[in-house]
Symmetry: C2
Subunit: 287 residues, 2 copies
Amino acid sequence: MKTYLDCIPCFMDQALRAGRIAGIDETGIKKLLDEVGAMIKDLPLESSPPATGDLIYGKIREITGVNDPYKIIKKETIGEAKKLYPELKKIIEESDNKLLTAVRIAIAGNVIDFGVGHEFNIAEDVRAILNQEFGILHFDEFTASLNKTESVLYLGDNSGESVFDKLLVEELGKPVTYVVRDVPVINDVTMQDAIDSGLDTVAELISSGSSAPAIIPDLCSREFLDLFETADMIISKGQGNYEGLSGIDRPIFFLLKAKCHVLAKDLGVEKGDIVLASSNRITMASD
Amino acid sequence: MKTYLDCIPCFMDQALRAGRIAGIDETGIKKLLDEVGAMIKDLPLESSPPATGDLIYGKIREITGVNDPYKIIKKETIGEAKKLYPELKKIIEESDNKLLTAVRIAIAGNVIDFGVGHEFNIAEDVRAILNQEFGILHFDEFTASLNKTESVLYLGDNSGESVFDKLLVEELGKPVTYVVRDVPVINDVTMQDAIDSGLDTVAELISSGSSAPAIIPDLCSREFLDLFETADMIISKGQGNYEGLSGIDRPIFFLLKAKCHVLAKDLGVEKGDIVLASSNRITMASD
């Protein structure tokens, strides 16, 4: 997805929130905003929003010297999600369509996002999403693809959400490679966070090789790209990964909650909608 | 009021919306955002938000060559407000406390603001505010001051809101001087807008002498300051005027709806609250 003009004030807002989470003082945050403001003129609108995010969060690391400001928050949300795990597992097992319910729950986990400026309550939001209509639901394509494929490449998004991903991985019934961020960025899932979420017991874990808060192929490692370019089925979680991957000709299923109106418009849904979208079908729709 | 860090993303957002209203294309708006972004490093947090607004809207005028992008919108909102005038006049005349009801209606008019990014519906919002509790209500001080003063200096804010101001001016029962912006900025009330609102029939009209979207004494004309520095009672409408004037030792009554959480926090109220606050009492509260 290209960077829309609306993303630019949002970059400033993200820098402000991230600076506060990193615990820097007002003078430090002002310096951060000064630098992000000065970066705007060099941002091409053709690049994706998380490519800019990569620059911003790099700048935050540079100014604060704090490598993982969300470390404690990530531990807490993983813990909170793990407490919900048994109840959610039971909901899946008792449901008429276990796979679809697991998809819903994996999307519900996508509310755990500190990159957007919304409050969330994991337990309440999950329950609401279990009964929410989909804005886009390409479930037939999803099951057909899953039946055919030998394995699944699963692109993680946030920590905590990763516990919900485990529930979906367990329902896929195929070998899964789960992709994490190479370094801490916002509350995105890293190797350690994935292990803390128990994903190492159900999937092979690999790094994207990139510090960006999304899969942006140009920034990823050759090791990741070898998998990405040959996978028969890719599950991509969250907004950032969609922003980095939309328009790329790979067999991707985007699972996300549309958390801002810019992305919602790009996908043709309403803000707040939950989405299971096949990259094939999205491409066809925009032709 | 000082500029809070939260105001900085909001400046970018204002520039974006103003650029769109001015009808400039995506490239032009990007250029505007580039320039506003680059300005951030030179913004002292000690200056008030509308002082920055003055720079931003000046930049918009420079880039677009459009002097009054809100001209048509202002005509429409003044027309819409004038249609409500007879109904609101009747509500005031039939109420137990005409002055307080006129104050409420003048505050209700403050929803007509294109500087903040909220949708509004004049007729609906006015009816809601007629029944809303005040976040701050220094009405006893207001009536005491009004009884003592020989005249009132009334600082206007938005066009359309100006029609609601006329209803309050008519209830004050004292000679009123109504202050307008010197040049068009956002949808703020100018001399022509005040005349279109019928204010010339009930008040003397003067300009602040400044292009800022607020009364910022340092930027105003000597003619205005002579009145401001000697007035026994000043009514200040809206957020911008509060931001420019809070902390200044003059007998001011701030009438506004708190439309952003930064200003709400500065005043000690909730976002969305309506406020009639005496500058004396606010100063005492923060001592």
